[in-house]
Amino acid sequence: MEKIIDIQHLSKTFGTNEVLKDINFSVNKGEVVCIIGSSGSGKSTLLRCINLLEKPSGGRIIYKGKNILDDMHDVRAYRTKLGMVFQQFNLFNNHDVLGNCMVGQIKVLRRSKEEAKEVAMKYLKVVGMEQFINAKPRQLSGGQKQRVAIARALSMNPEVMLFDEPTSALDPEMVGEVLKVMRELTESGLTMLIVTHEMGFAREVSDRVVFMDKGVIAEEGSPEQIFNNPTQERTREFLKRTLQQNQ
């Protein structure tokens, strides 16, 4: 299988606080990988390091055979290949729904307005938001905002989608609509890297699950292995805790 992202000895420190320690893992093309773990374990930081919103302190990130942490590497071109969905949606407040999905295409990918609109409409239909194209972000509910954010990321035709706890800021009844969209995406063969607290969802959609604890990857494997027969004591502890909370 072709490795699309290969992370080698990645580390990140904030001051004296070591958030990520010697992370090694890779994502294959077309794979859906879920990263689980308790708060503060470094999941989000790892994701943010991958698209360089945080600058890694050490290590290498190999994207399609090239180390993107080389000084000469074009960071912006690389970022367009990664679609990012944030916990807080981060829709552009000054644009309407359609504008949110078009501005990146026009300004960064230099697509024509017509083409950008066509692509945007295609993905807004995928997430079921095509009726809201003229709405401003503040007129939408959390679930709707997140669906638009997904469409915005997809409109750039990324090769990898990164999801940073996409349902954590949502009301419980809105989690379902976002997960439904994501579930459909996993079936389309897109490479996806998802940081999530939704254990049921992770178990159902992922090809591989990564469990992080205190800045290291404690365990990784197939969902069956992680959820049914975890080898590590801390994985067991974590799963027990989260399952208790859900009951």
């Binding site: 698209n51 919103l53 912006r76 071109a77 970022r79 367009t80 990664l82 990012m84 944030f86 807080q88 949606f89 981060n90 829709l91 552009f92 407040n93 000054n94 644009h95 501005v103 990146g104 300004k107 960064v108 990918l109 009726q131 809201f132 003229n134 709405a135 401003k136 007129q139 939408l140 915005r152 990321a153 750039m156």
Partner: protein
């Protein structure tokens, strides 16, 4: 106060008042506009993230120091003094001959620019970090993020403060009478030099000033509401032809009212 004196003064000197008010408005509009542009530029430059190494870092530091000095100097000295220094100083020291009107606009602009620079900087800092991150994550450069995402939001957010500056400028142009700009205060003073009715004449001037500032405030409030748009999004507002009972009632009332 005699009403007849006021009426007489208005009837006799209205062209002078009008010209003065016109000049005041002209200087404050142009000054506020240019000042806002200066402020936007400086605000953007001062919020460029400083790189960790390289020459760029030092160039930025020098530019930032110069801009800080500009802001501090012009915020820290009275406009009336600046007017004297710039108008007479440029003539005597550098032999630059400015018309009073040009000097007036120049002084108001750089003054407003100094204040607006801080307002804009505050506006940029107050924008949620997520807006920057989403822009960067989509592949935008700092400049693209600024132009397409951040500044439109900043401009909306600083509109009330800009309106404030505008109102202050309308009032503060009166100090430009020291360099003989024929704005409203200067004109009023000239009129009193002819008719010696200080109270009545200046009372008219104060009413004109108030009307100008009040109108400007209302117009800006209207623009703010226009930009914000409605609170809720109405699905299919144009396409759905189904009438609600309220609409039917309203239509019926209108029909009856027409008879």
């Amino acid at each position: 106060m005699e009403l007849s004196v006021i009426v007489k003064t208005i009837l006799k000197y209205w062209p002078m008042f009008l010209r003065g008010a016109g000049t005041t408005l002209f200087i404050s509009i142009i000054g506020t506009l240019i000042g806002s542009i200066i402020g936007l530029l400086i605000g953007v430059i001062r919020t460029i993230p400083v790189p960790e190494k390289g020459i760029k870092k030092y160039i930025l530091k020098v530019i930032n120091a110069i801009l800080s000095a500009y802001v501090e100097v012009f915020r820290g000295t009275p406009m009336i003094v600046q007017a004297m220094v710039i108008y007479y100083g440029s003539k005597q020291a550098f032999d630059i001959d400015m018309t009073p009107l040009f000097a007036g606009i120049f002084i108001v602009s750089i003054n407003t620019g100094a204040y607006m620079a801080e307002i804009v900087r505050g506006g940029i800092v107050s924008i949620d970090k997520g807006q920057f991150e989403a822009s960067y994550a989509i592949g935008m450069s700092h400049l693209q993020a600024m132009l397409n995402v951040i500044l439109p939001q900043v401009i909306r957010n600083i509109l009330p403060a800009t309106g404030n500056e505008f109102v202050i400028n309308i009032k503060d142009t009166s100090v430009l009478n020291v360099i003989a700009v024929t704005e409203l205060f200067f004109q009023t003073k000239s009129i009193t030099g002819i008719n010696f009715k200080y109270f009545e004449t200046f009372f008219i001037a104060s009413v004109i000033y108030f009307v100008m500032t009040f109108t400007v405030t209302r117009i800006l409030r209207f623009i703010e509401r226009k930009i914000d748009g409605p609170e809720n999004y109405i699905l299919y507002a144009n396409q759905m032809q189904v009438e609600t009972p309220e609409d039917a009632l309203r239509r019926e009332r209108k029909r009856i009212g027409n008879y």
